[in-house]
């Protein structure tokens, strides 16, 4: 039975996290000797849809009705359940993005499927049982979760699986399931999105700063460092609580958990709650003038120094390095 993967589009385009989830589905599918079918909802052009073949999808079901042009989790969950039925899939893979978080449980509930949310590696499948490692305790641990239901849903964390290209092209077909009108109760009135910045939950590089920066007026160098690295900006809880930076930047146990390749922490001491949110980072760099700062104990690289001296030098050095 084919693996169904939901491919979320952002303004008609697929982001890297979507290629990750298709590659993930493909890796599972290859093991089971079955194909991957993608379902895409909304206004996405044919070549973009067909390009999902390069990441492992052999077919793409394209749902293009006007009613479904904008994301409404209730309606989209019905579409995905209908797609699962149509393709005979009993494993559905979704990215654990903000939309995915609202969608995956509704899909799972409709299908009475066990849901493994926050998966960080490929599952182990033995007959009817699937077990997969997912994050738990806000980044302080992992839980190996076993799904025992007939149908199963996995929500994959961003940046947890690499993009793999196959060079193939997918066959695109129209799909028009009947969706109950009750599913369209929520209406989108406005979407506000900064399109020029790297988004934090799926960023590959994050530049984060804390109380050591002393005040919001000093954030210029943080933003500049982020810009020169192509990174997203983040902060510690006291900083967002004080209103220096928006809540959306707060990384930590009661904020966002990030999983970048590189996390640079500037002027952050490293309280246990903050560390929980960064534990999935592949490489951590800490810049702090206090050599006893707890963050150094979990850092891969560190500089003991005054951020106001070190960061400008780092920015200049990176510009020089990139200029080469």
């Amino acid at each position: 039975m084919p693996i169904l993967v939901y491919t979320e589009n952002t303004d008609g385009k697929f982001k890297k996290t979507v290629y990750e989830v298709v590659s993930y589905a493909k890796a599972i599918a290859d093991d089971l000797d079955t194909p991957v079918i993608a379902v895409s909802i909304g206004d996405v052009d044919q070549s973009e849809l067909a390009s999902l073949g390069n990441y492992g999808a052999s077919r793409v079901l394209h749902v293009s009705s006007d009613q479904l042009a904008r994301f409404v989790n209730q309606a989209y969950a019905s579409v995905i359940a209908a797609a699962a039925d149509h393709t005979g899939s009993d494993l559905i893979v979704i990215s654990n993005s903000f939309s995915g978080k609202g969608l995956a449980p509704r899909v799972a509930a409709k299908l009475e499927a066990g849901l493994a949310d926050g998966a960080v590696e490929l599952p182990r499948i033995m007959g009817d049982k699937l077990s997969v490692k997912k994050t738990a305790f806000s980044g302080k641990a992992f839980a190996i979760t076993e799904l025992v239901s007939a149908k199963k849903v996995i929500a994959l964390n961003p940046n947890a699986f690499e993009v793999r290209q196959t060079g193939d092209v997918a066959a695109v077909e129209a799909f028009n399931p009947e969706i109950p009108s009750d599913d369209f109760a929520a209406v989108i009135q406005d979407i506000v999105r900064a399109t020029d910045k790297v988004t934090l939950p799926d960023a590959e590089i994050v530049v984060s700063a804390g109380r050591g920066l002393k005040g919001p007026e000093n954030w210029g160098m943080i933003e500049e460092l982020a810009e020169v690295l192509g990174a997203a900006t983040a902060c510690s809880k006291p900083v967002s609580d004080a209103g220096w930076r928006p809540h959306a930047e707060h990384v930590g146990q009661t904020g966002i958990a990030v999983s970048p390749n590189l996390y640079i922490a500037i002027g952050i001491s490293g309280a246990i709650q903050h560390l929980a949110g960064v534990s999935a980072s592949k490489t951590i760099v800490v810049i702090n003038k206090d050599p006893e700062a707890p963050f150094f104990k979990v850092a891969d690289y560190g500089i003991v120094g005054d951020a106001f001296e070190v960061v400008p030098k780092l920015i200049a050095a990176i510009r020089a390095y990139k200029g080469n």
Partner: protein, 245 residues
């Protein structure tokens, strides 16, 4: 306005997380339990919406008698009454069924819960309950405003927010920013002792998933310190050794 708030009992944020029983259970020795911080935000929002006679707030928790202190704290903060479903909160699917079963005939206008619990981070309960009750759900709400029968909800998206107009009843999982967490005052603490706290039985729910083992993350090695005057060395290490730039 009739509001239901779902709260869960979680290890406090300073807890060091370790496992026992061959890594199949959380080691609860020395762990302090608190109301899930995101649920505290949901509760505070509900109290704000209901105060001044505008409505009532019921809190529901799925837990064994050890959660009563947390439930009393929610009453002390300002909830009007509470319900405890007497069962261990096995997983989000189980909890959601208990909540939906309780709520289904009570005509709540609004159901709030935290966007996720800090122990399982599933972000599932709000969406599961929404599906079970057949009502709209928003899983990471940053702002909620109610005007008459309609809620204007901002949900978090990568790089920004989406503003939705949703007819009541709805269920929302609240994130930071929806409300400032309220602290119980003396009057609240006194009245909490006599506010109603009903204990009801759980319904059976099929098991769809189970945690079979826990793991703690691999500890990182010792840090490689780079001199503050030699940032070029850091760049070199990040490029050639860590391969992240």
């Amino acid at each position: 306005m009739k509001i239901l708030v779902c709260i869960s009992n979680v290890p406090d944020t300073t807890s060091k997380i370790t496992f026992t029983n061959d890594n199949t259970a959380l080691n609860t020795t020395g762990i302090q339990y608190i109301i899930n911080p995101y649920d505290e935000i949901a509760l505070s929002k509900a109290i704000g919406l209901a105060e001044g006679g505008k409505g009532t707030v019921t809190v529901i928790n799925v837990g064994e008698s050890n959660t009563e202190a947390t439930i009393r704290k929610a009453l002390a903060t300002g909830a009007d009454d509470a319900v405890r479903v007497n069962a261990a909160p096995r997983d989000a699917w189980f909890v959601a069924h208990q909540v939906a079963n309780y709520a289904k005939d009570k005509e709540f206008d609004l159901i709030l819960t935290g966007r996720e619990s800090i122990d399982y981070n599933g972000s599932q309960v709000a969406a599961f309950v929404g599906e079970l009750l057949g009502i709209p759900s928003v899983s990471t709400a940053k702002k909620i405003e109610i005007t008459g029968d309609t809620a204007t909800v901002e949900r978090e998206i990568e790089g920004g927010k989406e503003v939705l107009a949703i007819p009541l009843p709805l269920i929302a999982g609240t994130a930071e920013g929806v409300a400032e967490p309220r602290i119980p005052n003396m009057r609240g603490i006194m009245s909490a002792r006599t506010k109603p706290l009903a204990v009801i039985d759980a319904i059976d729910v099929p098991v769809l998933s189970a945690v079979v083992k826990y793991e703690t993350p691999e500890p990182r090695g010792t840090v490689t310190l780079v001199d503050a005057g030699d940032v070029e060395k850091l760049i070199d290490l990040l490029h050639n050794q860590a391969r992240v730039i």
